[in-house]
Amino acid sequence: MQKTSVFKKQKPFRLPGFSFTLGFSIFYISLLILLPLSMLLLNVTQLSLSEFWQIISDPRAISSYKLTIGSALIAALINVIFGTLIAWVLVRYDFPGKSIMDGIVDLPFALPTAVAGITLSSIYAQNGWIGQFFDFKIAFTPIGIMIALTFIGLPFVVRTLQPVLESFKKEEEEASASLGATRFQTIYRVILPTCIPAILTGFTLAFARALGEYGSVVFIAGNMPFKTEITPLLIMTKLEQYDYIGATAIAFVMLVFSFVFLFSMNCIQWLLQRKKLQGGRA
């Protein structure tokens, strides 16, 4: 029997394996993630501030930032609209071929980006299956980049929203209808607000993925400096010219931008949550 005084000092029970798993995880992550990533910081700090500024504010770099962020943003927004629609249709309606449509949504996750790249560029080339129907160029223009980024980001919104819609209670819709709301009012005022966090998460993931995307874009972009050169490609070009310093500086900018974006989206989500939890506590 334990004495009560001893009982208090007793350590909380732990399954065996804590130190091994902790040690292994820290070792693995330090070696594989922290050490390599810190190289970026190490190399950037070797530059003087003015050198660094000169590289990252080069007009070619600036136009690549604009193109990358702009097309990633448009692609993510397209995915928000169509992803929400597709998630809704897949959860709410029955139609022949539904399970195939549902399954195929994952294609952009499973298909290698290079395969997506060559396929999209041959579809949207001027003599391609779709490209031939337009009298303006799609492939090798910013539109082509947007299409590639929309393709790779498609599953994110659909897959984050689906479970939320599935668990949504029909009763809330019925309550809204019984209170006199039209179907549109019910969707807009009751269902949509519940979905906002998931849609925001989907948008965040799609945008973040599109920012860094390389494989599917290089083939369809045309890669003309100032016109269709995305930032990852600019880094690649600098590397091929053995301009490691330039590549590192621009990579650093990209990485910082990604982190700041992800961090602010997390803050927004957190604020949304907090508003709900703290409302009326005053």
């Binding site: 009763e171 809204s176 209808a177 005022r189």
Partner: protein
């Protein structure tokens, strides 16, 4: 507003959920739909609300046929079992919802809505929680918000689906009384679904007892309790002792004892059941003729009424007896003792021959 249902039928696939339901609810009445789960009571409520379709039959509100009207157009208030509050809206926003979604022409002014919300919050005694979100409220508070929300649109009919089902016993009793008082102050025609007989007996003006998609009996609480129309109602409302046996020339032969049943002289049935409420059993320590011998197996001596559990010696069946505390003390019954039981009253259901 009065409600008139006639010959309502509903199937879910092969399942016959509602059979030939006809029911008249008078304006201002508080009606309970009582029945076990699967009896079709919730389906009936949802059909009245316009949340569910029916196969055939008619529903009139006053004299208007509402079948072609959607839930939105029927001017009903519906309170859901699990509240169905909008979690992203505050309590006040939830209550104001039904007014805010009206077309501009019919929508009250912002100030009028605010006043209405304040008034309702006061009615449900939640004024201090107006800016809270539903997830921050207790079950009882949520249910009151749901009720206020339904009342905000000034419905002509209030429909409540197991309104207190998800609450704990104490809160349930309070809310029940509160609903009764509310209905006295604002007599809106109301129908509520429940599987709790005590709740139905306590609150409702009239009770509709349902079983397997059919109405078994409609009546005031006293009527259905004192004069159950079917074995099902007898079983479902309150405790009951069963005496299975042969009915012959006005005598029920059961195990070792037989009982004269006046009024059944013309009937002859080989196998029937006599029903007796626990408080309609006479208990004695002395052997008297035509009694059942039983062993006292358990005594619940708490409260004004003492519950005794007995075991019949002849058939080994279980019997339940309720006697007043005072009588119990006078009898001085202890566990394990042998006692003699005789029904003071018994009801036998014979088809088309119910007394």
């Amino acid at each position: 507003m009065s409600i008139q249902l006639s010959k309502v039928e509903k199937h879910f696939g092969n399942y016959h959920a509602l059979r030939d339901i006809s029911l008249a609810v008078e304006a201002g009445e508080l009606i309970a739909l009582l029945g076990p789960s699967g009896s079709g009571k919730t389906s009936l409520l949802r059909i009245i609300a316009g949340l569910e379709s029916l196969d055939s039959g008619e529903i009139l509100f006053d004299d208007t046929n509402v079948l072609t009207l959607s839930a939105k157009q029927r001017n009903i208030g519906f309170v859901f079992q699990h509240y169905a509050l909008f979690n992203h809206m505050t309590v006040a926003e939830n209550i104001a919802y039904g007014l805010k979604v009206r077309t501009r022409k019919n929508r009250p002014s912002k100030q009028q809505i605010e006043e209405k919300v304040a008034e309702l919050l006061q009615l449900v005694k939640l004024d201090h929680l107006a800016t809270r979100y539903p997830t921050q409220l207790s079950g009882g508070q949520r249910q009151r918000v749901a009720l206020a929300r339904a009342l905000a649109v000034e419905p002509k009919v209030l429909l409540l689906d197991e309104p207190f089902g998800a609450l704990d016993a104490k809160v349930r009793k309070d809310l029940r009384r509160w609903l009764r008082n509310l209905h006295n102050d604002f007599p809106i025609t109301s129908i509520f679904v429940t599987h709790d007989q005590e709740e139905a007996l306590d609150v409702a003006d009239r009770i509709v007892i349902m079983n397997e998609g059919k109405i078994e009996q409609i009546g005031t609480p006293t009527e259905v309790y004192e004069h159950p129309a079917s074995p099902f109602v007898y079983n479902f409302l309150g405790n009951v002792n069963l005496f299975k046996g042969r009915l012959h020339q006005g005598t029920l032969q059961n195990g070792d004892f037989s009982l004269q049943l006046p009024g059944y002289e013309e009937v002859q049935i080989e196998e029937t059941v006599g029903y007796t409420r626990p408080h309609d059993l006479l208990i004695s320590k002395q052997k008297i003729p035509d009694t059942v011998t039983a062993l006292v197996t358990h005594i619940h001596p708490i409260g004004a009424v003492v519950h005794l559990e007995l075991n019949r010696i002849d058939t080994n069946e279980f019997l339940e007896v309720e006697i007043p505390q005072e009588y119990f003390r006078n009898l001085e019954i202890t566990k394990g003792e042998t006692v003699y039981i005789k029904p003071k009253q018994m009801k036998v259901f014979v088809e088309d021959y119910v007394i």
